[in-house]
């Protein structure tokens, strides 16, 4: 297998983008990534695009072809493939691009992710997202995504004594980071009280425990490490990659409070990268709900089960803490265009490792991403390092 580096990154601003169409979101992110890598379109060998549900959000399938066409790459007949794993579509798109380059099949590969969620109302969005769970046996029982993660939170708080304030601190910290990220959907710091007094969505989760509904796209460009310096002075190497599956339904998990696919994907990425937890400078984790960040920190092995609430309360997951989590603002504050999130995590990680994350910079050599589909049925992790 060849060594692989990221040579260019691009990301749109995240938010409610009434004025921008699905295809233009992708074109914008792709153009930014190409410019960043000093590449022209015809040098691209292959494109992967993560997308959860354009079929239901904008009634468009055949996303690979659409995107190749509107990015001006169909004239050169460049192959394009859509990748889907619910909210982990972006992370999986990156993994596909990575394996394409590592295998020697392709040299210059784009990994993108895009989602346009605000063309439909909240009720439809809720139903579309529910398709990431088991439609026949969870959907029919009246689940919503906030509801599924809320059931994790109920059991977790009961078992480990996690407090309402500790949970809220996850959102406060992520809004603090989002305020320093020009691409973030929410750029206003909030207080514990903002979270605790916000409307209940699915008890115990409130509005500010939830990631929002978001439009956005991100794209990154991968190349063999040996060629990376043709394009950039600051290539960022892929050190490790791990993917794992678990049960589609939350009720079938061995332990409701553990995403066993996070444990497996994390371990695989660490094994491949040959680094330790203590070497990691920060992690972009999948905080679709505040409780999800608590579980992720533990399941990735950064503290024991039941201790992430305390770690968060002590400020250890903030920028400057022992293990900074979600310097981008995470899904909570940066926003969660479901198919784009996994690629945005890579974008943020590359910015950090290059030293380009103005105002929220962490001084480190190594960073990690963690992207979850559904309640943990698919998890994709990557570890990156400077060269």
């Amino acid at each position: 297998m060849r060594e692989v580096a990221v040579i260019g990154v691009g990301c749109t601003k995240f938010g409610e983008k009434w004025e921008t169409s699905f295809r233009n979101l992708f074109v914008e992110a792709g153009a930014l990534a190409l410019e960043d890598a000093n590449l022209s379109g015809e040098q691209i060998d292959e494109i992967f695009v993560g997308n959860m549900s354009a079929g239901r959000f904008v009634e468009q399938e055949h996303i690979g072809a659409l995107i190749a066409d509107y990015a001006g790459l169909a004239t050169d007949n460049i192959p394009a493939t859509r990748v889907e794993a619910a909210c982990a579509s972006g992370g999986l798109s990156f993994r596909q691009a990575y394996t394409a380059v590592a295998s020697g099949m392709s040299d210059i590969v784009v990994a993108a992710g895009v989602e346009k969620m605000t063309d439909v109302g909240t009720e439809v969005t809720t139903d579309v997202l529910a398709a990431a769970a088991d439609r026949e046996w969870e959907g029919i029982a009246g689940i919503t995504f906030p509801g599924l993660y809320a059931m994790i939170a109920t059991e977790y708080m009961h078992r480990y004594g996690l407090t309402r304030e500790q949970l809220a601190q996850v959102a406060v910290k992520n809004h603090d980071n989002g305020a320093k990220n020009p691409n973030a959907q929410f750029r206003k710091p909030i207080t514990l009280d903002t979270v605790i007094s916000s409307t209940l969505v699915a008890d115990p989760l409130r509005l500010f425990d939830c990631s929002p509904v978001t439009d956005g796209a991100a794209a990154v460009i991968l190349a063999p490490l040996e060629r990376a310096r043709e394009f950039t002075d600051t290539p960022i190497k892929v050190l490790g990659a791990g993917q794992a599956s678990s049960t589609i339904a939350l009720h079938d998990r061995k332990d409701i409070c553990t995403l066993d696919a996070t444990v497996a994907a994390g371990n695989r990425a660490f094994q491949m990268a040959r680094v330790e937890r203590k070497d990691i400078g920060f992690v972009e984790v999948h905080d679709c709900f505040t409780i999800a960040e608590i579980c992720a920190i533990e399941d990735l092995g950064f503290c024991k089960k039941g201790e992430a609430g305390k770690l968060t309360e002590e400020g250890q997951t903030a920028i400057g803490g022992k293990i900074p989590i979600n310097p981008s603002g995470g899904l909570k504050a940066c926003g969660h265009p479901v198919g784009a999130t996994g690629v945005k995590q890579v974008y943020e990680t590359v910015k950090q490792l290059r030293g380009d994350a103005k105002g929220r910079q962490i001084d480190t050599e190594i960073g990690m991403t963690h992207n979850v589909g559904g309640t943990g049925a698919t998890v994709v992790c990557h570890i990156f390092g400077r060269v």
């Binding site: 439809v124 029919i140 029982a141 809320a150 059931m151 109920t154 059991e155 008890d203 009720h251 409701i256």
Partner: protein
């Protein structure tokens, strides 16, 4: 959910009929046609569940979609049946009545409908025992 799609699982939903692997003795509801532990060595047969169990965890859903919108706020729960398998269900009770470990039993209820003039679906829900 389309009529055909619902009908295929109607017996399971009406009567809480799941499956059991006779090789390892595990129970499955929702039913599985393939044992994840024994795989090709597994032998699957139908099984009638007793219909009693307890609440493993729950939430109160305040914002929902489709058929469930009219029910808000409602209790959603993961229930462990006495036979050991777990399922997700709407729990028909007051929102402040539910707690972890609460004993529950099955009832036959309307699950939803396919639009205002379409088919009405019935099946199993749970109530406090």
């Amino acid at each position: 959910m389309s009529v055909a799609r619902f009908w295929r699982k109607q017996q399971n939903r009406y009567n809480l009929i799941g499956t059991r692997c006779t090789t390892c003795g595990k129970y499955f509801y929702p039913p599985r046609g393939f044992c994840p532990d024994c795989r090709r060595e597994g032998k699957i047969v139908d099984h009638q569940f007793k219909g009693t169990g307890k609440v493993v965890t729950y939430s109160i859903i305040r914002s929902s979609s489709g058929n469930f919108k009219l029910l808000t706020p409602y209790v959603l729960a993961i229930i462990e049946l006495d036979e050991g398998t777990r399922l997700t269900s709407h729990l028909v009770c007051d929102i402040d009545q539910v707690y972890i470990g609460m004993p529950v039993r099955r009832v036959f209820r309307k699950l939803g409908e396919d639009g205002s003039s379409g088919a009405i679906f019935y099946g199993t829900k749970f109530v406090p025992a």
